[in-house]
Structure formats: C-alpha cells, structure tokens
C-alpha cells in the first residue's frame, strides 16, 4: 500500500522507510521506525510536541510531508542518548511533569544553544514560545535552558590534563 521509499539519516543511522506522499513525517517516524518521543497534539505545527531536528534545526514533524525528509538528517531525542547536557539540565531542575512536551523542549533548547550559547531569559522564552506545555512547567524549563547553557559552557572549556579531577 505504501507508495514510495524515503531515505534519510535518523539519529546518525541511514534509514529507508515506506510512506505515502501525503503522509506526515510524524506518522512515519512512529509507525515505521517505532519512535515514541515524537508525539501528536495539535496537528497544526503550533504546539511542538512532535518536534524533531532536520539538519540541526527544529521542525514540526506533524506538518512536514514525509518525502520532504529525503536526504536529510533527522534527530529525535532518542538520538541524544540520555546524558546530553540539555537532558541532564532537565533532570537536575526537574523541568517536567507529564513529560509529553519534554522531548520537543529539549530539542528546541539544544538548537537554540548551538546558535546562541549564552541566551538571556527573554531569548529563551521567545525561542520556546512555540512549544506548549499544558502542565505549565515553563519557569523550570527556562531554568533548565540556563542550566544547560552552563553545562555546555563547561564542556567547551579546555579539557583538564591527565590526573586532573573530572568536571562533574
């Protein structure tokens, strides 16, 4: 029943999937690739629960026609491994309740911090404006973004020589 094969890189691995040309990437990621961190809420590109990174930039997979992913690099939160500084920051701050919006928030902040390593609070809020959290965790999510910026800055610092205490 599938009409075409689409090829892209998912979390660093090349994949080929079957999809119909008018299906959205979200459906394909969930059905064909079993990803569960991309989630539908609004179906309009408004809420950010379906966020993935396309060539490093956040997009709404719920309104991205699947064939448009052809040849692109797609990253979902499954590809961050669990200990990425943004994930660690979310965990430290406990910046989530139900967790449904969390992957989208993490990816949006990751992309933001790559562009602007030291954003002020207003920049963070603006960048997160299109990621809705109905539990209302925004205050802690902004704190998590600030904490993630600090963790990433630590990582960027020159590595200590042999024998030095590891940065925790």
């Amino acid at each position: 029943m599938a009409a075409m094969e689409i090829h892209f890189t998912l979390n660093g691995q090349p994949v080929a999937v079957q999809a119909e040309p008018d299906e959205m990437l979200l459906e394909v990621l969930r059905r064909e690739l079993g990803l569960r961190s991309v989630r539908e809420t609004c179906g309009l590109g408004i809420c950010g629960a379906c966020t993935a990174l396309l060539n490093g930039q956040p997009i709404s997979t719920c309104i991205l026609l699947a064939p448009l992913a052809e040849g692109c690099e797609i990253t979902t939160v499954e590809g961050l491994g669990g200990h990425h500084p943004v994930q660690r920051a979310f965990e430290e701050v406990q910046a989530f309740q139900c967790g449904y919006c969390t992957p989208g928030m993490i990816l949006t902040i990751k992309a933001l911090l790559e562009e602007e390593p030291e954003p002020d609070e207003e920049t963070i809020r603006r960048a997160l404006g299109g990621n809705l959290c109905r539990c209302g965790c925004y205050l802690k999510i902004v704190q998590a973004a600030q904490r993630a910026a600090a963790l990433l800055a630590e990582e960027r610092r020159p590595q200590p020589g042999p024998g030095a205490a590891p940065v925790s």
Partner: protein, 297 residues
C-alpha cells in the same frame, strides 16, 4: 473507496518544474515549505492528486542585493524557496532591510520558520500571516514564471482575495523583489490573546522616496491599503500627531473588518484606528532618527 495515493513530483530544475506545473495545472498542489499543505491535509481540507515539490531545486534558494538598478536604489532579490529563518538571520537583510528580518522573526515559531518559505507565504495569501502586509507596504513584487516566459507582479496585484492569488495555473512564483531606498518602516503586530496567536490587527507602515504606504493585515480577506488616505502625508517632512490620528481614523472607516476568534468587526475597527496611529507615530520617530526601521510585536 480508498483515496487515491497522490503522485509525488520532485523536479530538480526549474525548467522541469515549469513543465510539470504546466502539465498538471490545478491538479498538482505546489509544495514549497509545506507547512500550509500539511495543515490542510491534516484537517481533511485537501486531498491532493499530485504534490509538486520545489525542495530539490537549489536554484530557488538565494538572497542577493542588486545595487545598481534603473531607479538607482538597491533591490533585494529573494529566491522563492528561501526559508523565513534564512531571511530573518541574513546579515544582508538585517543590514539593508531590518524591518523584513524583524517581521519574519515574528512569524509563528522557529520550527515553522525553518520550514516555511518566502514564496510559499505569498502564494498561500493567508490573510492572517505577517509577511504579506509588510511586503505589500514595502512595494515588493514577485516574479511569476511559466513555460511561456515571466512576469513581474506587485504583491498588491498578487493577493486578490481570501487565500487567492492572481497566479495562473501554469505559473510558479520564483522570486520576490523588495526595493530599497526606504526612509523608515515599521510593522506592528497586535495580538488580542496569547503571544503565540496570529495577529488580530497588523499594521505595516513604510515611507520610501517621500511617499507613505500603510497596509493593514489580518482584518480582511486581503491586505488593506488606501493610497488616497496615505496621500494626506505627501509632501510632509514628518507625520505630525494630528495627521497620524486622522490617517488612523480614516483607515478604520475605510475597512470593513472581519469577525473571528481574535476579535469582532467592531473591535477590530477600533484597534485599526489606534494601531495605525501608533505605527505612524513610531514611523515618525524612526524617520526623525534618520532612516532606521524596525518591527514591533
């Protein structure tokens, strides 16, 4: 019973795309960034028989400035497949047309702006999008190509109704041209609800070569512009408070606003008068400060 699976047409050259566009005509839905098409499909409002994507045509993504045009003013040429984010983040645009960069940065979310294109937003002619009103006020034009040649259409003539353009079924919008020589420009987005909402009333005000252009968006089927009202400012070195108020009130009287979730017709009319006046007051300050421009959320 099952719906037919649409054809996916992915040309790699403009010539090939024009040939497919001419062959399929209205049968093929053109996909630029694809955000609007995606929403329509999700809502069950569109069941395409063919999808014609321009994504693979690298030649449609560019930002160039031509310095020596016939008018002696620079001209910004934007490839139709340039994304909102690329425009918003381009140093070229930020320097020469800052109002364009700051207004595109107000559209929806970074996600949508990473995907949506400048050509797409004009071809959709969505009444509540931010860019059409601004591009209209800036006096921008678009290049429409067909197998038979090309024509230049002003944004004013392009958007003719509710999600309706004057593009012909065999034409593709390939470029947007924004003239330079702007003395001052401002875009104000008035939201009546969430900061993430689309505008209830949008006002773009531009002065170029001594002439004022005020375009009001999100209040009617298409951007609203009244040259005879703007002519009140002709020959004025600055727009004084009283004139700003009068232009605002005349715009409010001239427009028959829609009612929707963002405000009733009656309310929108009230806000048009206020927001047009405020836009002109700001424009006046910008011009006084010599040729800056900005957009204001």
């Amino acid at each position: 019973m099952a719906r037919p699976i649409p054809a996916w047409l992915a040309p790699t050259s403009l010539e090939e795309a024009l040939e497919l566009r001419a062959r399929y005509g209205e049968e093929a839905t053109v996909v630029a960034g694809g955000t609007f098409v995606g929403i329509l499909i999700n809502q069950g409002l569109l069941q395409p028989t063919a999808l014609l994507t321009l994504r693979q045509i690298a030649a449609l993504t560019y930002l160039r400035v031509e310095d020596a045009t016939a008018s002696g003013k620079p001209l910004l040429r934007i490839g139709a497949m340039t994304t909102h984010r690329a425009l918003e983040r381009s140093p070229l645009v930020q320097r020469g047309w800052p109002v364009l960069a700051s207004t595109f940065a107000l559209v929806a979310s970074p996600r949508v702006r990473n995907q949506a294109t400048v050509g797409g937003v004009l071809a959709d002619a969505d009444y509540a999008s931010d860019p059409p009103a601004l591009l209209h006020a800036l006096g921008a034009s678009v290049v429409a190509r067909s197998p038979h040649g090309q024509r230049l259409i002003s944004v004013e003539e392009l958007i003719i109704g509710h999600y309706e353009t004057s593009l012909r079924p065999d034409e593709l919008l390939t470029e947007i041209q924004v003239p330079g020589g702007i003395e001052g420009a401002i875009y104000r987005k008035f939201r009546s609800r969430s900061s993430e909402d689309r505008p209830c009333v949008a006002v773009a005000a531009v002065r170029r070569e001594g002439r004022l252009r005020v375009t009001v968006g999100a209040v009617a089927e298409r951007p609203q512009y009244f040259p005879e009202i703007c002519a009140l400012a002709r020959g004025q070195a600055s727009i004084e408070a009283e004139l700003a108020r009068e232009i605002g009130e005349r715009y409010a009287a001239a427009i028959d606003p829609i009612s929707d979730a963002r405000g009733s017709s009656h309310y929108r009319r009230r806000v048009i008068a206020v927001e047009v006046r405020r836009a002109l007051e700001e424009l006046n300050r910008i011009i006084a400060a010599r040729g800056g421009s900005q957009s204001h959320a």
